[in-house]
């Protein structure tokens, strides 16, 4: 059954365009999406999922399950990095462990989007408030990562800089991508409340265009991820194993939390994907600033070079299988 889900996932345009990008790199084609076009699509996707999430949040309201789920999501982004840190410390120093741990506690918006498309393809319902969970999981993981450095690092850090908490909280909360996502969520919410005709006029942009833009962006992500993979291979088998095993483990925990929250299968999958995915946007930027001792090629290559493609291709259908198994449809 899982293989049929995997096939069903692989033969959709977004995943096929992702493959097209990776194969371009493998065959050494000179296909390249020049900057800042990827940023255009990245901003567009954040704006659109934020806006749509806001609309749906308004129609679903803030019931008890909504609040519980968001709370649980934030909790996951605080706890998962600590587990990851424990695993990573088996082989890596404090700085690299903390930086990678923060990435895996945080989320990947593109993985989330791909999971939404996967659900739509299966005609499974999911709710807009999951976008709020997405938006709120980026920052806490960053802060946990820094706390881990503070607690576990040798008292005399080589570059003896005291951690400037103001700057870090600023980076964690007001990072451009996080800010755009949360802002669009609020705007979607306000628009749905006060200006229903505005909702309709946004639809061609934030709604109809979304799937195609997602494909274009995944084409680029395929190129970028495939270029990162060799660097991960250089980093050795421990990190390679980590980049596949950790998402599976986090997903496993996610399934049980989703079950405890009594989420329906659609929301449950999204919750699991949030747990299983790793950030390559806000977290690396924050880590570079605050833990320059960590190798950026480590935390970017693991999250982007392997975990991201793994989730896009195999992870999402696997997690769906897990959800189907552990959360029986009512």
């Amino acid at each position: 059954m899982d293989t049929s889900l995997i096939l069903q996932n692989v033969l959709t345009p977004p995943v096929l365009f992702f493959f097209l990008g990776t194969i371009a790199v493998a065959l050494r084609s000179d296909l390249e999406i020049p900057a800042p076009l990827p940023k255009l699509f990245s901003f567009y996707l954040l704006l659109a999922i934020g806006f749509k999430g806001g609309l749906e949040l308004q129609s679903s309201g803030f019931g008890i399950q909504v609040l519980q789920t968001i709370f649980a999501a934030i909790l996951m982004s605080l706890i998962l990095p600590i587990i990851c840190f424990g695993v990573l410390r088996l082989k890596l120093d404090v700085y690299n462990s903390a930086a990678i741990a923060a990435a895996y506690g945080s989320i990947s918006a593109v993985t989330f989007i791909t999971a939404e498309s996967f659900l739509e393809n299966l005609n499974l319902h999911f709710d807009g408030f999951m976008v709020a969970a997405l938006a709120l999981m980026e920052s806490p993981a960053i802060i946990v990562g820094l706390l881990l450095v503070k607690v576990a690092a040798p008292k005399q850090r080589a570059n003896s800089k005291t951690i400037r908490w103001r700057a870090i909280l600023h980076e964690a909360m007001l990072n451009g991508s996080v800010y755009l996502l949360i802002g669009s969520l609020l705007i979607g919410f306000l628009t749905a409340t006060h200006n229903p005709s505005g909702v309709q006029k946004m639809q061609p942009f934030t709604g109809n265009l979304f799937y195609g833009a997602e494909c274009f962006f995944l084409l680029d992500m395929g190129i970028v991820a495939a270029k990162r993979l060799p660097r991960l291979l250089k980093a050795g088998s421990f990190l390679i194993g980590f980049a596949v095993a950790m998402p599976l483990f986090n997903a496993f925990i996610g399934v049980f939390v989703a079950k405890a929250l009594s989420l329906g299968p659609g929301n449950a999958l999204l919750f699991v994907v949030l747990c299983a995915s790793a950030s390559y946007i806000a977290v690396p930027a924050a880590m570079r600033m605050t833990v320059p001792e960590a190798k950026s090629s480590y935390y970017i290559s693991t999250a982007l070079g392997l975990t991201f493609p793994f989730n896009i291709v195999f992870g999402i259908p696997l997690y769906m299988g897990m959800v189907n198994k552990f959360i029986p449809i009512a």
């Binding site: 990072n175 190129i223 570079r288």
Partner: protein, 93 residues
């Protein structure tokens, strides 16, 4: 007069420009979206969509005296975050 070339991650651009301003730079020129390779590895254009960005190349033409002050201001940034700085001769037209 002197020419100072600085190349570093554009995440540090604001801090660097502030350091130059405070050091009394009479002006500067900034080229963004620059890539390259250095002791800390390669920086490529394809990561610009993340908030990590690429490199910035900053050029300052100034007197030797100002230069000394500038270097005092920017050295800590480069030591902490990486990047390179080079000095050469240049004269105004």
């Amino acid at each position: 007069m002197k020419r100072l070339d600085l190349i570093f991650s554009d995440r540090e651009l604001d801090a660097m420009l502030k350091a130059l301003d405070e050091g009394g730079a009479p002006g500067y020129t900034v080229i963004k979206h620059v890539t390259g390779k250095g002791p800390q590895g390669a920086v490529s254009e394809d990561m610009e969509f993340t908030d990590l960005g690429a490199n910035a190349h900053v050029i300052v033409f100034c007197d030797e005296k100002v230069l000394d002050k500038l270097i005092i201001n920017i050295k800590p940034i480069i030591n902490y975050y990486g990047g390179v700085g080079y000095i050469s001769e240049a004269n105004p037209i």
